[in-house]
Subunit: 195 residues, 2 copies
């Protein structure tokens, strides 16, 4: 048992090394050799954990999603916040308001563009955020938080666009679009949906 | 004189060949050799127009911006539409509602991620859209089109996020986020700003 846990932990460390390489050098730098060096492993040792570069890259991207999903599950289960506050915190969790999430964002964009042309492995809905936004609006509606007469189909698409648009701009222009500004715009938008 | 025009025209043809290579194969395929082949030129002939790969790539990205700017200038100058309609058409021009603009979007994303790590050449505000959105909202305000009491700073950031978020989603999920859906969401959002 401990051995399996160590194996998984080592894979996560290698994935985190992959993130650092991507943030520093972009996908061009994310070779097996470059990642092994960043992780402080020999090429042979790295191959023990990931047989191919694509297996490693897919895992490193998957880990971004898992970390974010785990954080969101924690917030959703935390009953010390009122429902409206909880929904706001969940949406904010999708946005790069701190350094950790900025790294995830950077990695997410690099992977998305990179995997796009490797058609087989590419799933545009890999992050499941559109479905998640819809589910959150539906449950906010069931809790009577939403204004009457909203077109939930359009509001889902728009809110999803606001979230990823802010994320894109934080990635491109972190100076202007910082955590404070992201929070202000998102809260302003949610206020137009909630009553 | 004709010679200069031919030179510029040939540079544009090479840039368009670059776009096709990027759409088909991503930035990995955008080598000088691959682009020369797509453009039907020898390597030597291509070097006559662009001395280095980076010069070619920067020009190909610049051309995306020029084409979009020219289309927007045409719309802005067309007085057959009422002001509100004209503003809506200008914003829609920034979104991939047809095949031509979808290619531009694809190229824009590929370049943005690629140039990010070549710090010197990278300018996050390369497309000037944030400033453009602010200017359009200001002029809509001067024409008394906007609702009273809007926070233009926040509304600019939000509208800019809606535009680029929709563009990103059209790029990732063209099946769901097609021209019709993009138009519907954008018009719905503008209706919340205009009175």
């Amino acid at each position: 048992m401990p051995k399996i846990i160590d194996h998984e932990k080592r894979r996560e460390q290698i994935a985190e090394a992959t993130w650092r390489v991507i943030v520093e050098q972009g996908m061009e730098g994310a070779t097996v050799r470059g990642i092994a060096k960043e992780a402080g492993l020999s090429l042979g040792a790295l191959r023990h954990y990931f047989a191919t570069q694509d297996e490693l890259l897919m895992y490193a991207m998957q880990l971004v999603k898992e970390r974010a999903t785990a954080r969101i599950a924690d917030i959703a289960a935390n009953e010390e916040w009122a429902p409206k506050e909880r929904v706001t915190k969940i949406f904010l969790e999708l946005l790069p308001t701190n350094q950790e999430k900025m790294v995830e964002m950077e990695v997410w964009f690099a992977f998305t563009v990179y995997f796009r042309h490797k058609r087989e492995g590419f799933d545009a809905q890999h992050d499941g955020i559109y479905a998640g936004v819809r589910k959150l609006l539906d449950s906010a509606d069931q809790m009577n938080l939403l204004r009457k007469g909203l077109d939930k189909e359009i509001e889902t698409e728009k809110l999803y666009a606001v979230i990823d648009g802010l994320a894109l701009h934080a990635y491109l222009e972190p100076q202007r679009v910082d955590g404070e500004r992201i929070t202000k715009v998102l809260e302003h938008h949610l206020a137009s949906l909630f009553h």
